[in-house]
Amino acid sequence: MTAIETSSLEKIYSTSFGKQKVQALKELSLSVNEGTIFGLLGPNGAGKTTLIKLLLGITFPTFGSAKIFNEDISGYDFKKRIGYLPENHKYPPYLKGGEVLHFFGKLSGMEGQQLTKKIDEMLELVKLSEWKKTKVKAYSKGMMQRLGLAQSIINDPELIFLDEPTDGVDPIGRKEIRDILLELKSRGKTIFLNSHLLSEVELITDRVGILNKGSLLREGSVKELTEKKEEYTINIDDNDYDLLNHSDSSHQITKLSDGSYSVKVDDVRSINILIDKIRSDGKIIKEVLLQKSTLEDMFISLISKAEAGEEN
């Protein structure tokens, strides 16, 4: 089942009395399956927050359409099944932590004992129980983020949008938030995550989309996006053996500083042919590794290429 589906979604902002136009999203088609964690990455101004705002009806699309749980986003009933933690969220400073959850819980349709119980449960989850009766103006940035996370899941939503959820949170707090998100996923929740922290996204997401200047550059699983499909590292149990002798048009071989070899091939068949040659030479192969880049490497390379392509 699909939790989110967008079709050629576009957003153009007009500024200066309509004289200047900024295209925040360009024909964005995307689908996110239920029960998965989807990470949306992109540099500042890529359109990540705009996409979430469009999906939640905070801003309106110029063209295209979107559905959440197969329901058109122009209504507001579907929001009962949604939780949202915006970037730079503001809570009324005169409210106490528990009152913030009470207010947003009520707006989400909760009442009475069910809400009271849920408030305590949520504060316990984000480790803010002791701060329940403290006004939020006394909260630190990290505490506000944790309260925001509690607010976003108070109504036990099926789909949760999180915009930079770990912003301002210390490493231990970030780990705790990651654990909460993984726990929510294990309960079948769908999570849509906007984040700058690529290493974190890499750790918890099932699929990732990379957005730049309103266009979706790539989308796939972290594994798919970080695999260098045609590059391997081969480690042979003989320091005197010179694999460079086998270098030809289908095998570009480079010796690495640790004595192992980096091999670029056209396809999987080519690496198998090379392995056969090494073994026929009577050598023992200690390991063959498919080279992977980190999400960060891939992200930077992709954005750089997109920028360079635009300049050309």
């Binding site: 705002k53 905070i58 801003t59 929001k79 949202y84 707006l107």
Partner: protein
């Protein structure tokens, strides 16, 4: 309805946190204490006989109504000025980035959100005005042992005048996301335009010969909220228990309120945040 109630309730909470109630209550208590002090020095019987000397037809009820109005009239005007000042930021604060995003992500429609906020502001002002009016009424009624309940209705006419001005503040709040312009327009109407247009209609109408100017002024008289009439003649009539002689200012102001609020909701429904 439930959503409107939640937003209204939290607007009251916001007003309490911003000490709006405390501020109003402080002023009201000062006025009430002053009234108690003055009336404790007055001998009721000699006061009434002084007031009725040479005016045999002046009955006690009218003396009391005039006395109540004498205290309330300047205070109601002051209350309205303070009400505009203290409620002007309710909508702009709601529209701040980070706040509106959260509210709109909840299962509540945009009209419900704006109406809830509007009613919240109205309720804040109504409760404060009611406190002052009930206080003055109690002091005078106890002193003269005369209970004229129609005076309490003044709280409704003052709140209605505020409701009309507040709809304009809400409109400018939605358009500009700031409280300044709405507040300035409300003050301009209440302090200058409405009194001038009332003066024109009552006194100067017959002296203006230019037909075009007359048409413009007549048009403005009906377009601009008639807060001067609402706070003046109509409030006096209501306080005295005579009933409203001319409903035209109430009707035109009410239509304007509906029109302005409808336009605010229309804009709010279309606005990107």
């Amino acid at each position: 309805m439930r959503n409107i109630f939640i937003i209204t309730w939290f607007t009251l909470r916001e007003a309490m946190a911003r000490k709006v109630f405390l501020f109003f209550a402080g002023i009201s208590i000062l006025v009430l204490l002053g009234s108690i002090l003055v009336f404790s020095l007055v001998d009721t019987q000699s006061f009434i006989s002084t007031m009725t000397q040479g005016q045999a037809d002046l009955v006690v009820s009218e003396i009391i109504a005039k006395l109540e109005l004498l205290i309330i009239s300047p205070l109601a005007g002051l209350c309205l000025l303070l009400a505009i000042f203290s409620s002007a930021s309710f909508v702009p604060v709601m529209l701040e980035k980070g706040t509106i995003d959260l509210l709109l992500s909840k299962p509540i429609s945009r009209p419900q959100l704006l109406i809830g906020k509007y009613l919240g502001g109205l309720l804040v002002v109504f409760l404060n005005i009611l406190f002052l009016i009930v206080g003055v009424w109690l002091i005078i009624s106890l002193k003269f042992s005369y209970w004229e309940f129609s005076f309490l209705l003044v709280s409704l006419t003052v709140t209605f005048a505020f409701a009309v001005l507040y709809s304009i503040i809400v409109l400018f709040g939605v358009i500009t996301r700031s409280s300044i312009l709405g507040m300035m327009v409300a003050y301009l109407i209440f302090l200058i335009l409405s009194p001038l247009l009332q003066l024109y209609k009552a006194e100067l109408h017959t002296f203006i010969e230019n037909g075009f100017a007359k048409t413009i002024l007549d048009g403005l008289y009906y377009i601009i909220p008639q807060t001067a009439e609402l706070m003046g003649k109509i409030t006096v009539e209501v306080a005295a228990g005579h009933g409203i002689e001319n409903y035209s200012p109430v009707i035109t102001s009410f239509f304007l309120l509906i029109l302005v609020m409808s336009f605010s909701i229309f804009l709010f429904r279309k606005k990107d945040f």
